[in-house]
């Protein structure tokens, strides 16, 4: 909410500075978002007179002015075309800051401009921040006194303050309310709002039938004013105030309703009386009714929205927007002013459903003062007759008498308990009275009845906030505490620890951590989602971010493409993050996906360059699995990971029936879709699956057992079938003698068009003795024979 200092001063008398005012506003919960105090920021600028003006000797478009600042005559180079002799203007001396506080601010320095020394600058309105755009330097009235500080001539309406109003404080969505709250906090004294009851000159013939009196519209008042003139402009005072407050000047009648909304937080509506047919009815809408608003938009209404209607049509969507069919224009002669109170929830629901944002809705849905309907109509009447003239009709109403106010009961020590500092009963009472509560204190129990303009005060905690706010949070000293016997002592859970370890491990393996959107899009999902339904967002920010991701790959590949476009070709990245399998909360899973794209080894003087391949990624994967203490469990690798992997160059790691991870080369079609030209490999690890088998390390560890007997190595080279999984052969050999065969390792794999051979090293070692040559040879024979029987592997 934006207003000028002049406006606030209409209701609040105070001697403090603007800075102190802003500090106070913020400290009572009305955060000052901007304070444009030109009087302070232009305090060094001086009213000056150009006493002589001569063309610059070295520049066509510049002049050299002799400027009198009340003490000295200064030489100032000026390029403004309106500069002339005897003109009074504003001088920025050396050291003055032009456009203070803005991004374009700069300090005036003594400088030579094309060979002539200039001792300051003559300013334009724009440079003084008095207007956004201006031509030439500012020309002051002749009555301004040369040598005086220019800030003296800055009007209160040029000092602008913008405060943020929290949703609970609609009472401060009006300048008067802000003044009221300031004075309650002890800042300045409030000037009463003068409300004059205007005598009616005729009896209105219009009848109101308020069908919602008992629920959604307890107060509904109308007043006719005839023979008004809406063709003029509002007064200059109002226009200045509107300019400083960021309000648009439209027509006197509209300006008046806007003025009262901002001034007194009292939304009103003015109808063109001549466009209204018959009597007025307030009712709920029925499904499918149509309404054309003042914003020229057509709305189709739901059930239960509050409507103001005449006998033929809907004339207003209550509390939100008037109808186009009864709006005022410059020809409007007779008017009907509406002042009402509508149920906040109804207004909020209607506004939300139709997506209409208006000043009236803003105020009504937050709960304005229900007792302000009469004040509103009188204020409007006075302004209308002052600005537009007219004959005043009687106030007509169809309302209920009293709107109930609630009473909040609270123990007087509750305030000290919640705030954590001692506040006396009397102190509490005093502060509550200051904000307008009527307070009854008996037997340490406070009964407070909040004022009608504070609809937000509902429970005792609300009163605590009021007392704390007025006391000032800065006056509550911090107090150390310890949680009493808290049950859990672990900061991070086992899975959280493991995730932190994975991050460190992968970064140490030179894989960059990235964070990408949880969002995906239909294109990616159609390409990469093989199992789940696509989870779509009802109101996405863009088509690119319209779904929830079912895997991390899309985001990672997109990042690879983006980096490739910047000529970064070797990209190794990973993400640990959620993927989504259904709409329900908790149905999300956590994945780790690592992608390596480009060269594993760049052209280099030490080694031959080569692309990343699936054995790089497998090495990454195994190192991650190494963190999970599942080495002793029997995992198996199955070729072909499916999905977005190359069918011939991929694999999955299983533990029992659970797939822990998949790895391999990216399917060429997917690479193509993402415009990735470099060779790309990836693995994805399903964290929930892995963690299911992983238990925290047992401490202390089992005793380390090593053999002290000599070991022997035998190498075997087999011709094998092209599609044999080497791991099957290795596992088989190992199983032939679990006592003696302690390690089996593939150390070469050779393939040509029709054959393949595998070289395997077998380490033999016993725990109980040194093996004899005979024993070793016997075992070697067994390996060769059994490999042949089982896998048709022939020793080369």
């Amino acid at each position: 909410m934006r207003f000028t200092l002049g406006w606030l001063k209409e209701y609040l008398e105070f001697k403090s500075s603007v800075e102190e005012l802003c500090e106070k506003l913020t400290s009572i919960g009305l955060e000052v978002e901007e304070c444009k105090n030109l009087r302070k920021s232009l305090s060094d600028f001086v009213v000056s007179e150009i006493v002589d003006i001569n063309p610059h000797p070295n520049a066509d478009k510049l002049n050299v002015c002799d400027v009198y600042d009340g003490k000295n005559i200064l030489k100032i180079v000026c390029g403004a075309s309106n500069a002339k002799k005897k003109m009074k203007t504003v001088l920025a001396n050396i050291g003055c800051i032009v456009r203070p506080g803005s991004k374009e601010e700069f300090t005036i320095k003594k400088s030579k401009i094309r060979g002539v020394t200039s001792s300051g600058m003559l300013c334009s309105e724009e440079e003084l921040l008095l207007s956004k755009k201006s031509e030439g330097i500012i020309e002051l009235e002749d009555s301004c006194i040369v040598g005086e500080n220019f800030s003296k001539y800055i009007d209160d309406e040029n000092i602008e303050i913008e405060v943020a109003i929290t949703p609970n404080r609609v009472d401060c969505a009006g300048v008067f309310g802000i003044a009221r709250d300031l004075s309650a906090s002890g800042f300045g004294s409030l000037k009463k709002k003068k409300i004059t009851k205007i005598k009616d000159q005729f009896k209105s013939s219009i009848k109101i039938s308020n069908k919602l009196k008992k629920n959604s519209c307890p107060q509904f008042l109308l007043r006719e004013i005839n023979n008004v003139d809406n063709s003029k402009k509002s007064s200059q005072d109002l226009i200045n105030r509107f300019n400083g407050s960021g309000l648009k000047v439209i027509s006197p009648l509209v300006d008046i309703t806007n003025y009262i909304a901002i001034d007194y937080c009292r939304p009103l509506h003015v109808f063109d009386r001549n466009k209204i047919e018959g009597n007025i009815e307030i009712r709920y809408s029925t499904q499918g009714e149509k309404f054309e608003g003042l914003d020229d938009k057509n709305y189709i209404l739901d059930e239960g929205m509050i409507l103001i209607c005449d006998e033929k049509k809907i004339i207003s969507l209550a509390g939100i927007m008037g109808g186009k069919n009864t709006g005022c224009d410059e020809n409007t002669k007779n008017i009907l002013i509406e002042s009402a109170y509508f149920c906040p929830k109804r207004i909020a629901a209607t506004g939300r459903k139709l997506n209409i944002i208006s000043d009236a809705r803003y105020r009504f849905e937050r709960g304005i003062d229900p007792n302000s309907t009469e004040d509103g109509i009188e204020l409007a009447t006075e302004m209308v007759i002052n600005t537009c003239g007219g004959d005043v009709g009687s106030i007509i109403s169809d309302s209920i008498e009293n709107i109930e106010t609630r009473v909040i009961k609270v123990n007087s020590n509750f305030f000290s308990k919640i705030l954590g500092c001692y506040i006396s009963e009397k102190d509490v009472e005093e502060r509550l009275v200051k904000i307008g509560c009527s307070v009854n204190l008996r037997n340490n129990v406070i009964e407070a009845k909040p004022p009608s303009w504070r609809q937000d005060l509902k429970v005792k905690e609300d009163l605590v906030e009021e007392v704390g706010r007025l006391l000032g949070f800065e006056n509550i000293p911090p107090k150390e505490f310890k949680l009493s016997n808290q049950k859990t002592s672990k900061v991070t859970s086992f899975p959280q620890k493991k995730k932190a370890q994975i991050r460190k491990l992968l970064v140490s393996r030179k894989i960059m951590e990235i964070i990408s959107w949880s969002f995906s899009n239909k294109r990616w999902e159609n390409l990469l989602n093989f199992e789940e339904d696509i989870i779509e967002i009802k109101n996405p920010i863009s088509a690119e971010l319209s779904c929830m991701r079912s895997n991390l790959l899309g985001g990672l590949l997109n990042i690879i493409t983006k980096n490739n476009n910047k000529n970064v070709n070797n990209v190794s990245i990973f993400e640990i993050g959620p993927v989504f399998t259904s709409y329900r909360p908790g149905d999300q899973r956590e994945h780790l996906t690592v992608v390596r794209s480009g060269k594993a080894i760049e052209k280099s003087w030490t080694s031959k360059n080569r692309d990343y391949d699936i054995f790089d990624i497998k090495s990454d994967l195994l190192s991650v699995l190494g963190l999970f203490n599942i080495a002793d469990k029997k995992t198996r690798i199955v070729s072909d990971a499916g999905k977005y992997f190359h069918p011939g160059k991929s694999g999955s790691i299983f533990l029992g029936e659970n797939k822990l991870a998949s790895f391999g080369e990216l399917h060429p079609n997917i690479a193509k879709s993402f415009k990735i030209k470099n060779y790309t490999c990836l693995f994805e690890l399903y964290l929930e699956e892995v963690l299911e088998f992983c238990k925290p390390n047992l401490i202390p560890k089992d005793k380390l057992v090593t053999s002290s007997f000599q070991s022997s190595i035998r190498d075997f080279s087999f011709d094998i079938d092209k599609k044999l999984s080497s791991i099957d052969l290795v596992d088989f050999i190992r199983s032939l003698d679990k006592e003696i065969i302690s390690e089996v390792r593939v150390f070469d794999n050779y393939e040509n068009k029709d054959s393949r051979s595998l070289a395997i090293e077998v380490l033999m070692q016993s725990n109980v003795k040194t093996l004899t040559d005979e024993e070793i040879n016997k075992l070697s024979e067994k390996i060769v024979n059994q490999a042949k029987i089982k896998f048709n592997a022939k020793l080369r």
Partner: protein
Amino acid sequence: MHNDQLIQSALNEVEECSSVECLEAKRVKFFGKNGLITKELKSLSKLPLEQKKELGEKLNKFKNQFFLIVENKKSIIESKEINLKLARDFLDSSLPARENNYFEAKIHPINQTINEIVSILGSMGLTFEEGPDIEDDFHNFSALNIPEDHPARQMHDTFYLKSTKTDSYVLRTHTSPVQIRALKKMQIPLGIFAPGRTYRCDSDITHTPMFHQVEGLVVDKDINFANLKWFVEKFCKIFFNKKDLKLRFRPSYFPFTEPSAEVDINYSYSSGKIILGKGSKWMEILGCGMVHPEVFKMSGVDSSVTGFAFGMGIERLSMLKYGMPDLRDFFEGDLKWLEHYGFSFFEETDLSWR
């Protein structure tokens, strides 16, 4: 006599050697299996005792002398050879290290910031909790005292999911729903924090549709606003590593806390950079307050307890501490940005604050 000649020629020949190979050849020639002197030594047994003793002594003495000379000679030749080799050998040590010619990998600044928060809030007695990214209306709004049609809902720019059912599911707009989940699940006293992804339907210079928050919640018999002030102040001072950081608590509004406050920290500009903890300008850093009784009620918690909660934007904390100029870069995945603003996995958090 014959033996003296043999000894002399052995000495001469060894003297003339200039390579290790030559020395080895001479050793074989004279003292090998069939060496000339070996032969003499073998034939000693045929000699009479007197002669055997005399000649034996002489030859054995020479044997020792010979091997000593050979060893000396050998080490001289070897060191000469080493020096020669050293003079010849040269490697340009300024050549690039092996396969190390591209990016260092880094931890993403968001996760680094979360790590720091885990260390700090963990050291202050809180435990790490998590909640789902997709939430139901109850946890994201109603239980947090934000009923339908509450104006505060409009401020949340909520993403809704297209669901076939009538239930409305949302992407959580804040980490506060974890408060409800923790209150329902855990015993009091409790102290938790919950960092995580949050979502709002907003995208411009200062907003991304996805961002991160961290929520804190402390509930016990007698937790009060003064405790909240102490806790938040301690956290901020440790996190920003500024012992003289000033905090300003100003009244604000959140439906799920009462009283509510926003917290500002002081800063100043110095040559275009933000200096925290110095100067008199204020910037907002977090929101907090005493847990609203409605929140306890909705979570089924006895109303005799009190508690405080706070929430912060992690990107903002990160930008203020580490100086990234633009929020949007966090999720762009630009490797150069990540290398520059990311963190080594060795980083540790300093927990001192006074």
